[in-house]
Amino acid sequence: MPEESTPLLEARDLVKRYGQVQALDEANFTAGEGEVTALIGDNGAGKSTLVKSLAGALRPDSGQILISGRPVTMSSPLDARAAGIETVYQDLALAPDLDAAANLHLGREIYWFRPLRILNKPEMRRRAVTAFADLGVELRDVSAPVASLSGGQRQSVAVARAVAYASKIIFMDEPTAALGVLQRERVLDNIRRVRDRGIAVVLISHNMPEVLSVADRVEVLRMGRRVARFRAADATVEQLVGAMTGALTTEEATVRSGNGDSAGENGNGDGKDAA
C-alpha cells in the first residue's frame, strides 16, 4: 500500500488526561488527502478531544502529530490554520451579531486601505456570495446578522468558511446534527465536493448510515484509543456499532505491541473486515 505509507495527517499515540479522566489513551488516527475519513465512537470515546488536538485547540500531553510525514507542533488554532487545517465546530463558533460575510472573513479581513485596516466590505460581501454559491448554499442575504438565520443556514456559513480556507484538512464535528433532511443532503454533497478537490475531510458523526454513505474510510475510537478501521464500502452498520461498543476489535493487538503503525495495521484491519 504505497499511498498509505505517508498519509496526509497522522496522529501517533496521543495522550490527553483531564484529572482522573483519560480522554485519549495512546490514540492513533490517519486521514488521507482526497478522502473522507469518518471518526466515530460512543459519547466520551474521545472524538472531540482528538479533533481538538489535531486542530490545535488543545495540546495533547504526549504523542506525535505528523502532516505529510513531518512532525508538527500545533499550539494554537492559528498554527493549524497556517498548516491548511480548518475546523467546523459543533457550536459553529460564529459571531451571531455579525453578518455572514463578516463571519466568513473573521480574522482574515480584506482591506480597502491596509495601513489603517479599513475594511473592504463590498469585496468581502462579493467573496461571501461566491463562497456560498460555490457550496450551493441558500442564503438570501449575506449582510443579515447570523443570529437571524436558521440553524441550517448558520451551519452552512460555518462550513463555507472552513471550505473557503482549508487547503489540506477539514474537521467537521457533527456537521449535520442540527439540519433537516434536505440541508443534510446538501452538506454531504459539500463534503464530497470538498473531498474531490483533494482535501482530507474528517467527519465526526453519530449517524451510521450517513457515515457509510459519505465516508471512504471509518476509524473507530473507544475509550480513548482507536479500536478499528474499516473501508466504508466493505463495512456494515452492525460492524461499526460492534466496534464502537467493544464487541468487535480489529486493531487493539497491533497498536498495543508498540509503534508499528506502518507495519501493515491497515492491511490487518481491512483484511479482517473484508473477510
Partner: protein, 352 residues
C-alpha cells in the same frame, strides 16, 4: 426551501418571501431593517421628546442658543460615551470614566500650573493635552489588563478604577480644585468658536465622527463587535481577544482623558466633585442609543443621539418648570423602557 424559484437577483418591489438564491436587501427588506434598526427608535424617541417640549414651550425650547448650550454641556459626556460605546460593544462596562476625566484634568492642570498657569501658550496646552490623554490611556490600559488577563469582571475592575482615580486626584490636589489653565485652552477652546460653532462642540463632534468611522469601517471596530458577540468565535478565528480588550479599555481611558481637557477648558479649572455620576449618564446615553449591554450591538450614531436624550429631557423639564427631581425619575423610566425595547426587538429578530 425547494429551490424551484431562481430569483437570484433583486427586484426591489418583490414582496413575496424569497425562496432560494441570493437576495440583496430591497423593498420590504429595507422596511424590516429600518424597523429593527437600533437607531430608528432612538431618533424617534428624541424627535418625540423634542416635539413635546417645543409644543409646550415654543419660544424657549429648541432655539439655537439653547441647542448649542446643550451641546457644549454635553461635549465631555459625548467624548466619554464614544469610548464607552466600544467598551459596551465588547460586552464590558467602564464605570471609571468620570473619575478618569477628573484625574486627567488634575494631572494636566498640575502641569499647566507649574508652567506659567494662565499665561501659558499653545505649546503648553498641547503638552498638557498629551499628558492628560496619556494618563487616561494608561489608567484604561491597567483596567483592560485587569479585565482581560486577570479575568476580573469589568464592573468590578472599573468600579475599583473609579474610586482609585478619584482618590488619586484628591491626593494630588489636596482636595482643592486647581484653576487657571492656559489662556488658549480656557479662552479659545473653552469660550471661542469657529464659524459660529463652539470649539467644544467641534472637538466632540469630530471625535465622534472619527471613532464612528473607525467603529464602522475598520478591523478594530469589527473585532469589537465580534468579541462582544462571541469571544470564543473571535479566539478561534485568530483574533487576539485579550489584546483587543486592553486596547478598547485604553481607548475609553484616553477619551476620558481628552474629556478631562475639555472639562478643564469649559470650567476654567478642575471640577473634583462634578463628575461622580458621569459614568451613569454616559452609560445611560449609550444604552439609550441602542447598544446592547450583552455586547455585539450598537452604533456610534445611536450613541450620539442617545447621549442627548437625557440632556434634552433635563433642559425641557426645566423649561416647562417641572420639579427638577422629576428629571431623574423620567430618565430612569426611559432607560428601563429602552432596555426592555432592546430585549423585545432582540426576541423579534431571533424569531424572524
Amino acid at each position: 426551501m425547494t429551490g424551484t424559484r431562481s430569483d437570484a437577483t433583486v427586484t426591489p418591489d418583490d414582496t413575496s418571501p424569497p425562496r432560494s438564491g441570493l437576495r440583496l436587501p430591497g423593498g420590504r427588506e429595507i422596511g424590516r431593517r429600518l424597523f429593527t434598526a437600533n437607531e430608528t427608535w432612538t431618533i424617534l424617541a428624541l424627535v418625540l421628546i423634542m416635539a413635546f417640549f417645543t409644543v409646550r414651550a415654543p419660544n424657549t425650547f429648541l432655539t439655537t442658543n439653547d441647542l448649542s448650550l446643550m451641546a457644549e454641556n454635553t461635549s465631555p459626556l459625548l467624548i466619554m460615551a464614544v469610548g464607552q460605546t466600544f467598551v459596551i460593544l465588547t460586552a464590558g462596562i467602564d464605570l471609571s470614566v468620570g473619575s478618569v476625566l477628573v484625574l486627567a484634568s488634575v494631572v494636566s492642570d498640575e502641569y499647566f500650573v507649574h508652567n506659567g498657569g494662565g499665561k501659558g501658550g499653545w505649546v503648553i496646552v498641547l503638552i498638557g493635552t498629551v499628558i492628560g490623554v496619556a494618563s487616561g490611556a494608561g489608567w484604561g490600559t491597567v483596567q483592560g489588563f485587569l479585565v482581560s488577563k486577570a479575568k476580573i469582571p469589568p464592573l468590578i475592575a472599573t468600579l475599583g478604577g473609579f474610586g482609585a482615580a478619584l482618590g488619586v486626584s484628591y491626593l494630588i490636589t489636596g482636595g482643592q480644585d486647581l484653576g487657571a489653565p492656559p489662556g488658549p485652552l480656557a479662552d479659545t477652546i473653552g469660550l471661542g468658536s469657529v464659524a459660529g460653532v463652539s470649539w467644544l462642540i467641534v472637538i466632540s463632534f469630530v471625535v465622534t465622527l472619527v471613532f464612528g468611522l473607525i467603529l464602522a469601517h475598520t478591523r478594530f471596530g469589527r473585532y469589537s463587535y465580534a468579541i462582544g458577540s462571541n469571544p470564543e468565535a473571535g479566539r478561534r478565528a485568530g483574533v487576539a481577544v485579550d489584546r483587543h480588550l486592553i486596547k478598547v479599555y485604553a481607548l475609553a481611558g484616553a477619551l476620558s482623558g481628552l474629556a478631562g481637557l475639555i472639562s478643564l477648558a469649559f470650567n476654567n479649572g478642575t471640577t473634583l466633585t462634578g463628575h461622580t455620576t458621569d459614568n451613569l449618564t454616559v452609560i445611560t446615553g449609550v444604552v439609550l442609543g441602542g447598544a446592547s449591554l450583552f455586547g455585539g450591538r450598537g452604533s456610534m450614531l445611536g450613541t450620539f443621539i442617545g447621549i442627548f436624550i437625557p440632556q434634552v429631557l433635563n433642559t425641557g423639564l426645566q423649561i416647562i418648570g417641572l420639579n427638577e427631581y422629576w428629571q431623574q425619575v423620567a430618565i430612569g423610566i426611559v432607560l428601563v423602557c429602552a432596555v426592555y425595547l432592546d430585549q423585545f426587538r432582540r426576541r423579534l429578530r431571533e424569531r424572524a
